[in-house]
Symmetry: C2
Subunit: 548 residues, 2 copies
């Protein structure tokens, strides 16, 4: 019953044999992008081959390797070059830049694949004894440096604990609507285990195929449909975390009043306090029918107003995704599928009549909901005094069909010398529009400073009672110093996010990339984290260089 | 605009001038109770007068009092006898037994009424310097010993920080639907501040009139309508807590992924890490109309099934309260209002036809919801294959009318020698019925051992996706050793709760009463708490003897 993931790319996103050709959606893709980036030619930057990367010998002695193979199994300890390269980095833009160039500071000395909590505990004991860093590894899809090979100076090596063999469903409680899993289980395996009984976990991040339950919990992840099914912090009922001090098991009681909520302390701990080994999560009945709808609004402010109204009257939409004018324009230009030869609805409408009717900076909202919800939307006067055009369901079904594919495009773009990155935040509704403006301004300043054109767009990805999550995509020509170039952009947008009261992250986490800003801006979190870290992992062996 | 609370009882519940006469609902109340408790006469146990209580002099020197009056104000430091007695205890059954008998171990040496975070910080500095215990005090309505005067051996005295003068709304953000309050604000004052703008916090615990926002947060409290508006942990957006180390301000970003959720660490900390001084909470639109409904089901299992279905299909009921057969029977016997002279619907139906129709152990469910929800209940087949009788809205409106009054009854019962206590838990649906049975068995064992009849009843008070909260009422004749007697009962029921996988508490908290069981059963929570406590309050001045 297990989902068999085909071999993954060592230096890019997803399945090794899968590509997203630049002209897939539009034969003129690169031409249009060239116009938008105001640059005629790009400097191609093909990847090096993994065999050409020079990698130091493992720092583990033969006796140490033998010992690890005794506490797990011979086949569950790898020191081979390919594995060590693949596990050295996650899948952020800087990670891909490093992997593709072959310039990598640190490699893990071994990858261990435990099958039980006892084995994990054994690995932690070993690491503690031999002063090794331990990096918990789920699907390796972190885009913030959450699994990068880093060790403290005093440490003698790096062990990656790849959880992929802890992938079973252990129990399902259909009365309480919970299921218990080993945390190395991947998205598809979770659904394969639940769907036959009529249930779903409902957690569908873009990394769904390649990420794990443990990773989602460790990073407080979100999926496309978290609006109804909840983020990682909402899905967790209880869990068992293997720490240096022993195994911590939280309780499964609903909404307790027995001190602070420890589950909420573990969710988001990013492998720095322990390794989340097993978890009981809420499950949901598979929906018999969901409805897709897309609307066009005259401007961003109106779109935000509708989305906010929807959420604040408590309407349960599986998804509510609102593109800003820049993203709406980008997709209407790009989604000109050559196999169909036609122009899509948005583009046609836009060109012919929109401007005349006051749709000067139109925005598109995609939603997915139960049929009955749309009855409520009318009843609750959500569209009261709102100008809108219903676009039917096609824009949503199109989006659905390609929702796991866009990250593949990033690899193709890198080949031709173009960088694509994403960043995200969450913020109160009252600050949302200013925050978005602030990020556009910050990027404009970077453009002036660096004389490089950045193509920026965003959408609201999740709506809450008090605010929303904003997801940004940024595309720009790679310079000859791509890491430094990325760092300048990253600092500018993160400073703008914090200045306008946004979260450092809504669902990607802190990792290495946001750590300097966490230290600087959120001294409270930092104080608490350090306090816990000191007691739970006094030697600092767990995922050094991330979060705390 | 402030809600003026009349003087409160020093030795009982609520307003000093308010009583709930034993014959209010039924002229035969005591006669019926006597039959149920299988005891003809009770030993009357009137309260002592507060003036007759002997109380030691304050341990604060005149210089210390003068200093405290300088950092706050002369009128904001009290050492008078009445205040010291009132603030020595909360409102648990053991608290009332102690207050009424005048046998109290410890009294606070002074009560300070700060008006700002700066003043609170000054008080903590003072306490730190002079080795004093500091007890944060909201409305003083804790029923688990959460505000009891306790100090460590090494400490020289006890200061109570009564937050009642920090009672203002500071800001309202109607876009984000949040409001910021000083945390000493009482329930009525919160609503008085919000209602004129069309908003509500929606938090209505039984202690509503006498408890504070800070207290709700500190104890992870729940209100009757938390099913829709959320428990304390759900209402909190961000807060500012004054600690010995300084003021900690959490962030207001929605659903962040920037490490563990510190708000969830502060909620439930019961004043042991710091004093929650200001908080931003979610607000909600005042409902235009809510519907009341009551149903009768043939037995407990059926009632539970309906409630679980309602919750698991995501129906937003403000309240869903399901009495077990024992509670249903008790209320149908007792609610025979003499002013109306008639028998209520339940009782009549029950006597005449119910038994014949298979309602052998009937249970009543009360609900409050938006009109539209009842459309959904039909549509979702909640009542599919379920036998039920609709009782209309009267049982709910009756309950509404008296929902804040029942605690007054406890004082009247104590006068005549009868104890009434409540305890509560939460548990997965799959364990709920066994847990309830287990508690009834545990109490039966106590009955055998002590040769005292205990009248026990319960209702489901809150329903969650994975489980529910159970609220028990226990009534019994007071013995001559009432504290010891209570301790035996408390231990028996708490052991049964833990044995069957229930929470030590769903909304009352840990306080002193559940502390021994927390230490024993939940070593993980305890380890985390100690770790935080050590760093945040190394001298242990904050609320000693509670939670950690």
């Amino acid at each position: 019953m297990k989902y068999i993931s085909s071999a993954k790319k060592w230096n890019g996103w997803g399945h090794a044999d899968k590509r997203f050709p630049l002209n897939k959606l539009n034969p003129d893709f690169l031409k249009i992008l060239s116009t938008l980036l105001e640059k005629k030619e790009f400097q191609a930057s093909p990847s090096t081959g993994w065999k050409d990367i020079s990698i130091p010998d493992t720092r583990l002695s033969p006796a140490q390797i033998k010992y690890l193979r005794k506490i797990s199994a011979v086949s569950r300890v790898s020191t081979n070059k390919f594995d060590r390269i693949v596990h050295s980095r996650g899948r952020s833009l800087p990670d891909l830049i490093c992997l593709r160039s072959g310039v990598i500071d640190e490699f893990p000395d071994a990858i261990v694949y435990p099958v039980s909590r006892t084995e994990i505990a054994g690995i932690l004991d070993f690491a503690q004894k031999h002063k090794m860093a331990v990096i918990p590894y789920g699907g390796g899809s972190s885009v913030v440096g959450g699994v990068n090979s880093i060790k403290l100076k005093k440490q003698n090596g790096i062990l990656v604990v790849n959880m992929e063999r802890m992938n079973r469903m252990q129990e399902i409680d259909e009365t309480s609507m919970t299921a218990t899993f080993e945390c190395g289980i991947s998205g598809p395996d979770v659904e394969l285990a639940l769907n036959p009984s009529g249930y779903t976990l409902g957690h569908f991040p873009q990394s769904f195929e390649f990420s794990t339950l443990g990773g989602w919990l460790a990073a407080r992840g979100a999926g496309y449909f978290s609006g109804v099914y909840g983020k990682a912090e909402n899905m967790l009922v209880c869990c068992s975390m293997v720490t240096v001090q022993g195994i911590l098991q939280t309780r499964d009681v609903p909404a307790p009043s027995e001190g602070p909520d420890l589950n909420q302390l573990i969710v988001g701990s990013e492998g720095t306090l322990g390794i989340i080994a097993e978890a009981t999560v809420k499950i949901h009945r598979l929906e018999k029918k969901i409805n897709h709808k897309a609307w066009l609004f005259p401007d961003y402010h109106t779109g935000i107003l509708v989305l906010r109204r929807l959420r604040q009257v408590g309407i349960r939409l599986h998804m509510a995704r609102l593109s800003d004018p820049e993203e709406t324009r980008y997709f209407s230009q790009m989604n000109n599928k050559n196999e169909q030869g036609g122009r899509n609805t948005v583009l046609r409408l836009q060109k012919k009549i929109l401007f005349l009717f006051g749709y000067k900076s139109p925005v598109v909202m995609l939603t997915v909901g139960e049929p009955g919800q749309y009855y409520w939307i009318k009843k609750k006067n959500i569209f009261n005094k709102i100008k809108y055009i219903s676009l039917g369901e096609k824009p949503v079904t199109d989006w659905f069909a390609s929702r796991y594919e866009l990250p593949y495009l990033r690899d193709e773009l890198l080949n031709v010398g173009i960088a694509a990155d994403t960043f995200e935040t969450s913020v109160l509704w009252s600050r949302l529009e200013k925050l978005r403006d602030g990020i556009y301004s910050a990027v404009q300043k970077v453009e002036k400073k660096t004389a490089i054109k950045y193509l920026l767009m965003s959408h609201v990805s999740h709506a809450y009672e008090t605010g929303a999550a904003l997801y940004f995509t940024i595309i720009y020509p790679l310079s000859t110093e791509p890491l430094e170039q990325w760092g300048i952009m990253k600092k500018a947008v993160t400073d703008a996010i914090l200045k306008h009261g946004g979260a450092l992250s809504h669902h990607h986490g802190i990792g290495t990339d946001h750590l300097p800003m966490l230290k600087q801006e959120n001294d409270v979190t930092y104080f608490f984290l350090q306090s816990l870290k000191k007691d739970l992992d006094p030697e600092g062996i767990l995922n050094p260089g991330k979060l705390v």
